[in-house]
Subunit: 530 residues, 2 copies
């Protein structure tokens, strides 16, 4: 598939700027063709305006039509064949198998949202019937359901060039809701974005979606993203990336004359608590699987386990030594791009220099900086060291984690209380541990979006119950998830109809319930018609 | 009931500042005893910290316990007797009957939330069961539900001293969710706030709620509210009031090191469209009921109808003349306080001075400024006049509305497209009108939170389907409502449990579904146990 390095705005290609940039293969440092054009202010305006112009027609599509669009996206994604996988691998250093897994996740996700929107109960339809004779005032007929908010801007993640980018849950959930999408291509994998966009454009054409339902704009400069978030036609934005980038755009979204919600998932430290019973019963397996979780994808997950807490004991020291040996034998691998690699190297050097941190292990293999390779690192500190180094509560993106040996059982709960918001918290324990540390579990319920028992945070299931979010700084809005079907709620708002005539109501609110969805009728959940 | 003018912090009274302020009776201008103390930084800190300290115990209460607390609030509110009504009337100029209606709404609302939280399905429990043998990866058991976010700051409205203040839906929905509340008393009705707080404190003590579940702080200076919103222990805030005040605090909430959601309902222009068929069939009744809606409560509703659109015709002119006669015969009444009265007077003078606006009618009766009395006003303009005066799209709080006579049917849709976000939009029409103006209805679905057919926006039903919200500037977050049971969603976030042991799960997620709630199990809605 030939790449053009052009923006895709309402099914047409565009490139008005003379300034361009290239993607790089992080495993060689080589620049990849073609050159990609920076989006101009005019092009961003075209894309946002086209999305607005498409909105009215798109939101009027039936759930069946949107489901067909999503299924066509899944089919067209598979039809891209090797082109998508090859480019994603070249632009990110991800092994081929990882790219295939991401593609499968995207395809399954689009199909899940197709079935979800076809079933239709997600619109939260509610009907309170009239009581014309009520005293002192008659009660009107009041009905409501979720309606799409309008054009959505999407900022994908560097670490998931397929599954959390153009073809990610932000795009498909916005489409499922009835919102047009403008994607700001990630500048580290613009070619993957261009290829993925071809699948969406093909699906939109095949299923008769309005022009402007999807656009892709490129930009390496921050201005491109800022202009998109500021654009008055954009009604919401979704972002996956760093805290610095997410917060900057969140601030832009809030400072607009008419603010819009900015849903940023910004990673976190993902604490792991290994309780004494689990250490004694299962310490070696936990050490092995923890390091596997830590190093998967070169540690480049927003759910990477960055802090591990336990009580100092012979079992803890054995756990540490086993984890250390696994880290040593883990061979350095190429990170996503040179910038992330530099930040990781800087963070490691900074941690090496701290007195309160002991270096427990690093990869035996020598990383090759020209290939942006990262070694694995394991540090250890104690209660005092953590108290003196609050920056350990912050994420360092890459295959590094810090063990925290605590002296007293109360330390675990105390340090949990100090944690910032996190996407996940993991607990390894026996039934007896759970009873003894119930206070710790309560604290973690207030700190994290997802609690994992005897398991590891990396790798998440795309399903109805998944929550990939958490209190700030894990996200900007702890009410919302960016993965799983609940993420559609980011792009809808309630609309209420009072004494509204049957023929003008959305189908989901009509007396006869033509879509057969679950509704809340006078406080009772039912699929019956009125 | 004797008033003290003190803050109520975790069941104890406090007053550390020497600076004080008084409430006023707007109908006389007289200052009302006692003096109320400004909250100090220390007192705000005590209240927020007490709320935080109460959170863990409060969120662990059962739904039954919280329901009992809410029902006790309803009972204790009634037990306040005349003290609440008398003071509310004195501080706002509201007639006694209005205060009684507000009290009944508060009482019913607390009971509605009690039954809502007792039923329990609102937590949106979801379970995706494990598939240990799935290829290529096993599927874990994933469950999630809504959990409270933490302490909530509440800013009540000047125009509803009982029903949207200390005893409003913000407070009771936060309690229903399991969130402690710190209310910033409205400085125009601090005595009503103190009396209402006594009911909550009594209910909390009777039902064994933790100290700190509720506090009330007073302040006339902006600093008090700003400090409360900035306080790191406050996790969300709800506000009803002006655009200027709401936006200022929204900006404070977003600028925090750890931003919090700020749910502001800030009023709107609430357009009314009177379509030709309705004008012909029913113009006189619409004119009468429109003016009744406009002048109820001296026009001091966030749902007050501020713009009325129709097509110029003999029927329109008759409608205008009838509306004018109703406005003329409406006797001036006292506004909520001198500040609101001044702003209204200023806005009226400003509109009188515009060439494009014709004064159609004002109250025959002479308003007495020393009693903060407002006359009713009706203006008229045309398409060109509205285009030249975009500030007419902004709310002017009080009994004033502007008629917009349009020359062409397309004008209605065109002007609707120019509207900012609004809490409501009302349409008067016949079945034939609806067919002809379906494009207008579509536009209004994108602009408003609630659409009303052949009715008026003022007065809203507290029920499951109600939505009292809308796109900015009606609110800061169009996803959320401030009235109706859906408003509980402002104060909860999803928490997910992966492979979590049964005994440590919240009851709502256990296999045996001990609360018998509706859950989404593997994508199917059911009340069955697993």
């Amino acid at each position: 598939m030939e790449l053009h390095g052009l923006h895709i705005i309402a099914n047409t290609q565009s490139a008005r700027a003379s300034s361009t940039f290239h993607a790089f293969d992080p495993s060689t440092g080589a620049s990849l063709e073609p050159a990609f054009h920076e989006a101009t202010t005019e092009e961003i305006d075209f894309a946002a305006q086209a999305a607005h112009d498409a909105f009215e027609a798109f939101r009027q599509t039936t759930p069946e039509q949107r489901a067909a669009f999503l299924e066509a996206i899944a089919d067209e994604t598979l039809a891209l064949g090797d082109a998508l996988l090859d480019r994603a691998s070249a632009e990110t250093g991800h092994p081929r198998a990882r790219c295939e897994a991401e593609r499968m996740r995207s395809v399954n996700q689009a199909r899940l949202f197709a079935s979800f929107v076809r079933e239709g109960s997600w619109v939260d339809a509610r009907i309170d019937t009239a009581e014309p004779d009520r005293q002192p005032l008659p009660k009107p007929d009041v009905r409501s359901l979720m309606q799409p908010v309008g054009p959505v801007a999407v900022f994908g993640a560097s670490n998931f060039p397929i599954a959390i980018s153009v073809l990610g849950s932000d795009t498909v959930s916005a489409f499922a809701a009835g919102c047009p999408v403008v994607v700001k291509a990630h500048p580290a994998h613009p070619g993957t974005c261009e290829i993925a966009s071809a699948a969406i454009v093909a699906a939109a054409v095949k299923t008769g979606m309005p022009e402007g339902v999807f656009s892709l704009v490129h930009g390496k400069e921050h201005a491109c993203g800022i202009e998109l978030v500021k654009h008055p036609r954009i009604m919401a934005a979704a972002f996956t990336g760093s805290l610095a980038g997410g917060r900057a755009l969140f601030d832009v979204a809030n400072a607009r004359p008419r603010p819009i919600p900015f849903f940023a998932e910004m990673g976190s430290v993902n604490p792991v608590f290994v309780l004494p019973g689990a250490l004694a019963e299962n310490g070696e397996a936990i050490a092995r699987d923890f390091v596997a979780s830590l190093t998967t994808g070169v540690g480049q997950f927003c759910t990477n386990p960055g802090l591990v807490f336990g009580l100092d004991s012979p079992e803890w020291r054995h756990f540490r030594d086993m984890a250390a040996s696994h880290v040593r034998s883990w061979a350095p691998q190429t990170m996503l791009h040179a910038g992330i690699h530099r930040a990781y190297q800087y963070g490691i050097e900074e941690r090496r220099g701290r007195d309160a941190l002991a270096l427990v292990a690093e990869s035996d293999g020598e990383p090759r900086p020209e290939r942006s390779e990262a070694a694995g690192f394991l540090f250890e500190t104690d209660a005092a060291g953590l108290a003196e180094n609050p920056s350990l509560y912050e994420e360092l993106f890459g295959p590094v984690s810090t063990l925290v040996k605590c002296g007293a059982p109360g330390d675990l709960e105390r340090f949990a209380e100090q944690l910032d918001g996190s996407l996940t918290a993991s607990v390894h324990g026996t039934p007896d541990d759970l009873k003894k540390y119930s206070g710790l579990l309560s604290v973690l319920e207030r700190k994290a979006g997802r609690l994992i028992f005897n398991g590891y945070p990396v790798g998440l299931e795309v399903c109805h119950a998944m929550h990939h979010g958490g209190p700030y700084p894990a996200t900007c809005h702890s009410h919302f998830t960016s993965i799983g079907t609940r993420c559609i709620q980011r792009f809808v708002r309630p609309v209420c109809y009072q004494s509204w005539p049957q023929e003008a109501l959305p189908a989901e609110l009509r007396d006869d319930n033509p879509r057969g969805i679950w509704r809340l009728v006078d406080g009772e959940r039912t699929r019956e018609s009125l």
